[in-house]
Symmetry: C2
Subunit: 196 residues, 2 copies
Amino acid sequence: MPKVGMEPLRRKALIDATISAIGERGSLDVTMSEIAGRAGVSSALAHHYFGAKDELLLATMRHILAELTIDMRRALQSAASPRERVSAVVAVNFSDIQFQPETIAAWLAFYVEAQKSSALRRLLRVYARRLHSNLMSGLTGILPRAEADRAAEATAAMIDGLYIRRALKDGVPDAATAIALVEDYLETKLGERHKQ
Amino acid sequence: MPKVGMEPLRRKALIDATISAIGERGSLDVTMSEIAGRAGVSSALAHHYFGAKDELLLATMRHILAELTIDMRRALQSAASPRERVSAVVAVNFSDIQFQPETIAAWLAFYVEAQKSSALRRLLRVYARRLHSNLMSGLTGILPRAEADRAAEATAAMIDGLYIRRALKDGVPDAATAIALVEDYLETKLGERHKQ
DNA sequence: TTTTGTTGATTGACCCGTCAATAAAAAATA
DNA sequence: TATTTTTTATTGACGGGTCAATCAACAAAA
């Protein structure tokens, strides 16, 4: 069976397996064997490629963040006005790829784990800061700086909150509803200040 | 040492110890020994009173919820207008007792655990529904039902989101800022619709 | 003497991480 | 080209550690 060039394939498979395992279990309480099993390899191989469990989890979080970044960049590129930029940021967070039970469960679990792992905490800070600045990139074109800052903070909090509520499978049944809630806030907040 | 009538005292001590242990660790990954040690008893006694770990955790969550309910009831009683009711609900969620690192960490951890435990999930649903109806008890006096419903949903999401962000110790440094953000949303949303 | 409170010791399960061993491909050598 | 050697891929088995839960035993009240 041993073919050459397996490493990237196995890494990818293991990361995917980690996401799906976490998604199903609903927490980071998944064993290396469980993950390796889903990826179709032995647990020893998972250790071989990632060293320790922490690093596999970290790599998984990095992967999720990287995907989000790519989606975000794409969405922002096709946004013309500041107002559209804001909507684009919101939309990406609730896009099909991001707003899935598996991914959400992973997010939530990582949030908790971040209290233990400083490396994870740093990663999540990067995400939080990036979300904020992405929102600001649109909002500063509509509101004065201080107000834009508060609006960004509030929007970000709402997004996180909707994620949590989705994880509980209570209320907020779909992405459309979530987007509508955030957009409703933005609309009343921004009023008719944005032209066209 | 054995005196009579210890049971309620020990139960309380164990629940308090559970909260503080979870708060410090930042997750439910605390051992029975750790909890029992903090309460000044052996782990065997914790099992004696609560049976299994799950039940201790459940009892702890119930306790936190009960405290929140009491605080909420008190706050709502001294609220005159519908607008004040809304603010009261918000204020309680960020009150000194509720908005503490320990309690927040516990909340977050329980949210995650809820994906595994249906009993915990039921408890958190009760909380979510109660928060919603408490918000509605004020909002329906100001907005038409459908709009009130959406505003309540958005407010609840924002509160949850601010909790999460607080857990990360990133942004949202204190309760006052959190309250200001939510109130700002409410003010723009409700506008001048509420008289006086 | 029965009830209530309490614990040390132990068991049994689980799981991370390691290691020696195997096997196929690739590279080096003859 | 035929061979040996090295590199890459892979796993089963196991050691060591942790932890939930049990139990027998003991002590103080009722």
